[in-house]
C-alpha cells in the first residue's frame, strides 16, 4: 500500500509545520523521510494517521484517508515517538489490548513479541523497560496487524547495533513482500543503507523526492545532498 501526500499544509496557530508538501512513498519500497528537527516529518506522518487534521491538502493511504480505512491496524502499522505506554501494564497486555481492538487473534501477540525479541520480557510491566525495549514494543504494536504500510518515526531510536541491523533486515524483508515502508529518521548513514526512495523536508517544505540513487552513487552522497538541500535559505 502506498502513502500519497498531496499539497499537504498544516499550521499550528502561527507556526506552519508543513507547507504544500507532495510526494508518494511507493509500495514495495523503503522510503526514507528525512529532514532536520522541525522540518515537518512527524507532522506529515501524524496527518497521514488522522491524528492531526490538515489545514489543506491530503495524506492518503491506498487512496483513502486514515478514517476511511475499513480495518486501520491491518492496513497501517505506526510507530511514533509520542505513543505512550501505561507504566503499570505488562507488555503482553499492552499488545493484547491492541489485538482486541483490531479484532486480531491473541496468538498474533506472541508472534510479534517473538519477532521483536521481547518474548522473555513480555510479562513485565512497561515501567521497568529500557528505551530500546519500549521501541521494540512499539514496533511489535506496529507489526501486529501485518499491515500493508508501515509508518515509522525514528524506529532505530534506542536500539543497539545488533538491533539496528535486525531492523534493517526486517524493513527490507517487509518491502520485499510488497508492503510500503516509510522511515522518518535523522540517521542518514542508516537510511542510505536501507532506503530505495528518499523524501527530504526542510522548513516544512519539500526539497527532494525521488530514488536514492538520484542523489549520487558515492557513500557520502546522501549526506552532502541532504546538507546542501536543507541548509539553503528557505
Amino acid at each position: 500500500m502506498e502513502l500519497d501526500v498531496r499539497e499537504l499544509t498544516k499550521e499550528f496557530g502561527a507556526v506552519t509545520a508543513v507547507r504544500d508538501v507532495s510526494f508518494t512513498a511507493p509500495a514495495g519500497m523503503v522510503t526514507g523521510l528525512l529532514g532536520p528537527n522541525g522540518s515537518g516529518k512527524t507532522t506529515t506522518l501524524r496527518a497521514a494517521l488522522g491524528l492531526v487534521r490538515p489545514t489543506a491538502g491530503t495524506a492518503l493511504i491506498g487512496g483513502v484517508p486514515y478514517h476511511g480505512l475499513a480495518r486501520p491496524r491491518r492496513s497501517v502499522g505506526a510507530l511514533l515517538e509520542a505513543t505512550g505506554f501505561h507504566p503499570g501494564r505488562r507488555a503482553r497486555d499492552h499488545l493484547r489490548v491492541l489485538a482486541a481492538a483490531a479484532g486480531l487473534p491473541d496468538r498474533r501477540v506472541d508472534e510479534v513479541l517473538a519477532q521483536v525479541g521481547l518474548a522473555e520480557a513480555a510479562d513485565r510491566r512497561v515501567r521497568g523497560f529500557s528505551l530500546g525495549m519500549r521501541q521494540r514494543l512499539g514496533l511489535a504494536a506496529a507489526l501486529l496487524g501485518e499491515p500493508e504500510l508501515l509508518l515509522l518515526d525514528e524506529p532505530a531510536n534506542g536500539l543497539d547495533p545488533a538491533g539496528v541491523a535486525w531492523l534493517r533486515g526486517l524493513l527490507r524483508e517487509l518491502a520485499g513482500q510488497g508492503r510500503g515502508v516509510v522511515v522518518a529518521s535523522h540517521g542518514l548513514a542508516e537510511v542510505a543503507q536501507t532506503a530505495d526512495h528518499v523524501v527530504i523536508l526542510s522548513g516544512g517544505r519539500l526539497r527532494f523526492a525521488g530514488p536514492l540513487r538520484e542523489l549520487g552513487a558515492s557513500g557520502g552522497a546522501l549526506e552532502s545532498a541532504f546538507l546542501k538541500l536543507t541548509t539553503a535559505p528557505a
Partner: protein, 243 residues
C-alpha cells in the same frame, strides 16, 4: 471494541484500588452516623445510613475521569485513536465499559451500606426494617448514583482531557462550587444541580436543601449531565489534534 476497553481496565491495578475505596468510605460514613448519636430506632435514620451508598459516587466519578483523561496522561490515547479513528465511538465504548464497572462498584457500595447498617443496628439492639420499600429504593438509588457519576466522570475527563485538571474540577465542584451555585440559583433551580440531583436519587438530604426532585428525577438529571458532557466532548475536544 468493548473487549479492548475491558482489557485496558483489567490489565492495570490503579482503577481497582481506587474503586475499593468506595465501600470503605461507605462503612466509615455509616459508622460515623451511628457514633455521632444517630437513633437506630428511627426509620429515617435507617434511610440516612443506607443512603451512604451514594457517597461512594465520588470515587466512581474519579474512576470515570480516568477513562479518557488517563489515556491522554499516559499518551496511550494515540494508540486508541489509531485503532479507532472514529473518536465518538471511543467515548461511547468507554461510557459502556466504565458505566458497567461503575454500576458494579455501586452494587458493592450498596452491599457495604446494607452490611454496615445491619451490623450497627444489631450491635445497638435494633432491627432493620427489611421489608420497607424505602430500604430497597434507597440502596438502588445509591447504586444508581455510583453508575451516574462514573458516566459523568467519563464525559468530564473527555472534555477536560488533562487528568489533574479534571480531578481538580470535579472535587472543587463537589466541595465548594455547587454549594455556591445552589445559593445563587435559588432552591427551585438548585434541585437540578448534580449533587442536589444525586441527593434526590440517594433519598438523603445532607446538603440541607429545601426541595429535591423525586428519585427518578434525580436519575434523569444525572444521566442528562453525563450525556451533555460526553456529547460536548465528542463534538469538540476529542476532535482536536493529538500531538
Amino acid at each position: 471494541m468493548l473487549r479492548s476497553e475491558l482489557r485496558k481496565l483489567t490489565s492495570v491495578r490503579a482503577p481497582w484500588l481506587l474503586l475499593a475505596a468506595g465501600p470503605l468510605i461507605v462503612v466509615a460514613g455509616v459508622t460515623s452516623l451511628v457514633e455521632s448519636g444517630g437513633n437506630v430506632r428511627d426509620p429515617s435514620v435507617q434511610t440516612q445510613a443506607l443512603a451512604h451508598a451514594g457517597l461512594a459516587a465520588i470515587i466512581t466519578l474519579l474512576f470515570g475521569i480516568m477513562a479518557v483523561a488517563g489515556e491522554y496522561r499516559h499518551a496511550t490515547i494515540t494508540d486508541t485513536y489509531l485503532s479507532y479513528p472514529a473518536r465518538g465511538r471511543v467515548i461511547a465504548a468507554k461510557l459502556a465499559v466504565y458505566g458497567a464497572v461503575g454500576a458494579g462498584a455501586g452494587l458493592a457500595s450498596s452491599g457495604a451500606a446494607l452490611a454496615a447498617t445491619a451490623a450497627w443496628w444489631a450491635a445497638k439492639g435494633a432491627t432493620l426494617h427489611l421489608s420497607a420499600a424505602d430500604l430497597w429504593l434507597t440502596l438502588a438509588g445509591g447504586a444508581a448514583a455510583n453508575l451516574a457519576f462514573a458516566l459523568i466522570g467519563v464525559g468530564l475527563g473527555a472534555l477536560i482531557r488533562n487528568l489533574v485538571a479534571a480531578v481538580a474540577a470535579g472535587l472543587a465542584w463537589i466541595a465548594l462550587i455547587e454549594g455556591i451555585a445552589g445559593q445563587l440559583l435559588g432552591s427551585s433551580l438548585a434541585r437540578l444541580l448534580p449533587l442536589h440531583a444525586s441527593e434526590a436519587l440517594d433519598r438523603t438530604s445532607i446538603l440541607g436543601a429545601e426541595r429535591l426532585l423525586p428519585q427518578w428525577g434525580g436519575a434523569v438529571v444525572l444521566l442528562g449531565y453525563a450525556a451533555a458532557f460526553a456529547s460536548a466532548a465528542a463534538l469538540t475536544t476529542l476532535r482536536r489534534d493529538v500531538t
